[in-house]
C-alpha cells in the first residue's frame, strides 16, 4: 500500500473516532445557547484527540517506511491530490452556502456552528475517500 494511501486511511480513521462520537453526542443533545462551555469542551477534546492520533500515526508510519515518507509526491500523487481536493471543494462550497446563507434564517448558535463543522468534516471525508479510492483502483 502506498505511503500516501496509508496517511489518507489514518486521516479517515482519526476523523471517524473523534468527530463521529462528537456529532453523535451533539445530535442527541442539541445545544442552542451561546456560549456553551460543555459543547466547546467537547469540540476541543475531539480536535485534540484528532491531532494526537494524526501526530502519532504520522510518526509511526514515517518510522516504518522512512524512505517513502521522505519521497516527494510524484505526478500521479499530485493528480490524485488535485482530483480529491476538487471533489471536496464542491462539498465544502455547497455546505457553506447552506450554513452561511440558508441556516441563519432558521437556526442560530451552536446549531450553525456544528453544521459548519459537519460540512468541513464531510468535505475532508470526501477528500480522503477519493484519495483512498484512487489509490485502490490504481488510477
Amino acid at each position: 500500500m502506498p505511503y500516501r494511501e496509508k496517511t489518507a486511511w489514518l486521516s479517515l480513521i482519526a476523523m471517524a473516532v473523534t468527530f463521529g462520537p462528537y456529532f453523535t453526542i451533539t445530535a442527541n443533545s442539541m445545544p442552542e445557547a451561546l456560549p456553551n462551555l460543555r459543547q466547546f469542551g467537547l469540540f476541543a477534546i475531539a480536535a485534540m484527540v484528532q491531532m494526537l492520533i494524526l501526530g502519532m500515526g504520522h510518526l509511526y508510519l514515517g518510522r516504518r517506511s522512512p524512505q517513502d515518507a521522505r519521497t516527494p509526491p510524484d505526478e500521479r500523487d499530485r493528480t490524485i491530490m488535485r482530483r480529491s481536493i476538487s471533489s471536496a471543494y464542491y462539498v465544502l462550497i455547497v455546505g457553506m452556502i447552506l450554513v452561511g446563507c440558508v441556516m441563519p434564517f432558521r437556526s442560530s448558535g451552536w446549531t450553525i456552528i456544528n453544521a459548519a463543522l459537519f460540512m468541513i468534516v464531510a468535505a475532508e471525508v470526501v477528500h480522503y475517500s477519493v484519495v483512498v479510492f484512487s489509490y485502490r483502483r490504481q488510477a
Partner: protein, 76 residues
Amino acid sequence: MMEGSISNRIRVLRFLNGEMSQAELGQRIGVTRQTIAAIEAGKYSPSLEAAFRIAQVFNVPLAEVFQWDTKATQGA
C-alpha cells in the same frame, strides 16, 4: 471523437532490459514503484514528460513503449 485507449509494452521492455524492477524504473524517471505499476496496468496515463523519460531509459522511441489503440465506433 475518435475513441481508443493507450496500451504499453513496459513489462516486455523491463524484461528485455535485464528484468529491470518497477522500483528501479520508477527511481530512474522520478516516480514511485506504485506509479509504474499503475502505468503498466493501463490504469494511469503518464504525462508526456514521464512517457519520454521511460522511452529514454529503454533507449527506444516513444512509439515502441506506448501505443494508441483505436476502437471502431458507429455514428458521426
